[in-house]
């Protein structure tokens, strides 16, 4: 879109201390990052909390992003590392969290049947499969880019995508 600053320009401005530039980075990437985390964490509230942590981590480490480095790839790599790191503790505290979530005012956000069905189907996949499916099938990433973000061999990503697609199609009753 003409007039829209590039990622590199926004990163440079944010590195110089511009909160406006960083807020635009958040605006630009919040939906894909949250979407990715919602698919791999399954629990929507956990995912959104983690997405906030991803952007906070990005702000803290903005100077480590290499010149010319792809912001989107970098953000997703942070998200994946955070998701992996929290997977174990999330599983441990899931029961406690559900009790807390039920008390939240926004706990019963209406969701479409399709979204719920997808959420339940994704929960049947392994975390690595979910991540590959979330990036390549839902996000439209290439296998190569997904492999770079997830730090997995290309063949492994292809295999996860293929198996994940087959399993999801089976669970959702969709013909491939």
């Amino acid at each position: 879109m003409p007039g829209e600053p590039t990622d590199a320009a926004l990163v440079a401005a944010a590195r110089s201390g511009s909160d406006t530039a960083f807020a635009r980075i958040v605006d630009r990437y919040q939906a894909p990052v949250r979407g990715f985390l919602r698919r791999i964490c399954v629990d929507e509230t956990d995912a959104d909390d983690m997405a906030q942590e991803v952007f906070l981590g990005a702000w803290t480490r903005l100077r480590t992003l290499k010149e010319g480095g792809r912001l989107k790839t970098w953000l997703f790599a942070i998200a994946w590392r955070k998701a992996k790191g929290r997977a174990r503790s999330m599983a441990r505290s899931r029961k406690r969290d559900h009790e807390y979530q039920d008390m939240r005012p926004d706990a019963h956000t209406p969701q479409t049947e399709m979204a719920l069905a997808m959420q339940q189907a994704l929960a049947q996949l392994t975390p690595d499969q979910r991540a590959c499916v979330a990036l390549c099938l839902a996000g439209g990433w290439t296998h190569g880019d997904a492999a770079a973000v997830l730090d997995m061999p290309l063949g492994t990503v292809k295999s996860h995508v293929s198996r994940g697609r087959a399993r999801l199609s089976e669970l959702l009753g969709v013909s491939e």
Partner: protein, 110 residues
């Protein structure tokens, strides 16, 4: 299968689209920026406390030397250096106040 095949008319796409986050979410942005401001404040506060602690330690370590200098300079100059020292401390505190990144009423440490 190529990458373009996957993004085309995939029957799973409708399911994926159903669970997407909103494209623009001011509440999310606000929550992130609030956390950013809080982290900046904490880092800023830690750095200033460190600087103040170093100044204090320096002053304590240099106290015997400064006492000797003060005795050699005599009462009037000693008072002058005392005033300069206090003025410096006030300037440091004033700078910290004027360049603070969070207004005190909005301040939440934890």
């Amino acid at each position: 299968m190529t990458d373009s095949d996957m993004t085309g008319a995939d029957p799973l796409n409708a399911f994926f689209r159903a669970g997407e986050a909103p494209a623009a979410d001011a509440r999310f942005r606000l929550a992130v920026m609030e956390k950013v401001a809080l982290r900046r404040f904490r880092v800023d506060l830690a750095l200033r406390l460190l600087a103040a602690a170093l100044l204090l330690i320096g002053a304590v370590l240099l106290a015997p030397v400064l006492d000797g200098i003060a005795a050699a300079l005599g009462g009037t100059l000693y008072d002058l250096f005392l005033v300069l020292g206090v003025a410096g401390l006030i300037a440091f505190a004033g700078h910290a106040w004027l360049t603070r990144t969070i207004r005190w009423p909005a301040l939440r440490l934890f």
